[in-house]
């Protein structure tokens, strides 16, 4: 699933991501918010999920 959060500011991308992961095991997140990368790192640590950076503003997030 592709989740387009371009132009959205924190915490909306992370909120939408968490909602999307309830339905999907993997989500590709598009986000250009400067808080997204540090917040993905903290979110993955806090919730036990994982992500990888695919390219600038493009992340693959996996529910674990």
């Amino acid at each position: 699933m592709l989740l387009n959060c371009l132009g959205m500011r924190c915490p909306i991308p992370i909120i939408k991501l968490a909602a999307a992961l309830k339905e999907e095991a993997e989500v590709i997140l598009l986000s250009d918010d400067p808080a997204t990368l540090p917040d993905l790192t903290a979110w993955a640590r806090m919730t036990g999920n994982a992500y990888e950076i695919l390219s600038a503003e493009r992340y693959l997030v996996k529910r674990l």
Partner: protein, 351 residues
């Protein structure tokens, strides 16, 4: 006092002990302490007394003190004054932005900060300079003393005030009068050894202009410092207990929260936490509406829309961030009301 109990911001009103003396300070300390009139001699005595007071509380000598009317200028004086052409400036990723500004124009190296808030300086060479924070102003986390570093140390004590001792081998140091409820616009700057410090401002001799600060405000600050430290020492255990209580409440009653540092490594009156899936700006606005003023390091609350560099350097959640300062006279009941209000708002915002 009413509205003060809900004040969890870093700023606070001038300490009542200083407020009570303010008019008298202006009446007695209006003269230029450098001149020779009777009024000037009185002013010089007052200035000396204020400096003695600062020196006693801050663990330095009176003659090492310079009073600044602009605390931020102290970062430039303290760092640039120690840097030589072959120096490298080392500074932690959680240093204040004023340090970043100085580092920008010099050979410098940013030290990574770990999740517990600590950075490890290298041993360096004798001409290197370390910008070292005694405690971080956002998280309250105390930094381990840089014992291995061979170079010169600038100690940023703007957040820790009189609460933490300087490292053994400090070269220059800076305090902010606001750390002890003193007046804003007043910094205490100290140089350990004048022979290795070079005034980076245009100057005729090694002196920093000593008359361009308000003597009455310096006196008021010294009075505030005296009163604040006494109050803090009396309240320290209780502030620590309140800090622990807030942390426990956040973890057990609210959940999905990222708290900066452990309570035994932080100054007990400071606390920073980030709430997952919460918009900090909205939360701070709603808290304010209910009489509680807090700070935030989240991007939505900053002027440049960037998240706090301190939170991201430590790998902490940057959204939903709230910073609270537990002021000396805070009572436990207002903290409990604050926590219940916070819980209800977070529950609403998450659903």
């Amino acid at each position: 006092m009413g509205s003060v109990t809900g004040n969890f911001q870093s700023e606070s009103p001038l300490h009542p002990a200083a407020t009570a003396f303010l008019v008298e300070a202006f009446q007695r300390g209006w003269s230029d302490p450098e001149k020779r009139h009777a009024g000037s001699r009185k002013a010089a005595i007052l200035l000396n007394e204020a400096k003695e007071n600062f020196a006693g509380h801050l663990g330095i000598r009176r003659e090492q003190i310079e009073i600044l009317s602009d605390t931020a200028l102290g970062f430039h004086l303290g760092l640039t004054g120690l840097l030589q052409s072959d120096s490298t400036l080392y500074y932690p990723a959680i240093a204040r932005s004023e340090v970043f500004a100085v580092a920008d124009g010099h050979s410098s190296h940013k030290l990574p900060t770990d999740s517990s808030g600590q950075s490890t300086p290298p041993s360096g060479s004798e001409s290197d300079v370390l910008a070292w924070q005694l405690a971080n102003g956002e998280t309250g986390i105390r930094a381990a003393h840089p014992t291995e570093f061979k170079g010169r140390i600038f100690a940023d004590a703007t957040a820790s005030g009189a609460l933490l001792p300087l490292p053994e081998r400090w070269s220059s140091a800076l305090w902010s009068s606001r750390a002890w409820q003193g007046p804003a616009g007043l910094g205490i700057f100290a140089i350990a050894d004048r022979s290795i410090w070079r005034n980076p401002l245009p100057h005729f001799d090694q002196r920093i202009g000593s008359t361009d600060f308000s003597l009455p405000l310096a006196i008021a600050s010294a009075i505030a410092l005296d009163a604040w430290v006494r109050e803090y020492r009396e309240r320290e255990e209780s502030l620590h207990a309140i800090n622990v209580e807030i942390r426990n409440f956040l973890l057990t009653e609210i959940g999905q929260v990222d708290i900066a540092g452990s309570v035994d490594k932080t100054l007990p009156h400071l606390l920073s936490f980030s709430l997952l899936y919460v918009d900090a700006e909205m939360l701070a606005t709603e808290l304010d509406r209910r009489g509680f003023a807090v700070d935030s390091g989240s991007a939505c609350n900053s002027a440049n829309m960037e998240p706090s560099h301190v939170l991201s350097a430590m790998g902490l959640l940057t959204h939903g961030n709230i910073r609270v300062t537990l002021h000396n006279l805070l009572d436990r009941q207002s903290v409990l009301t604050f926590l219940q209000t916070l819980k209800a708002l977070v529950f609403d915002m998450r659903s």
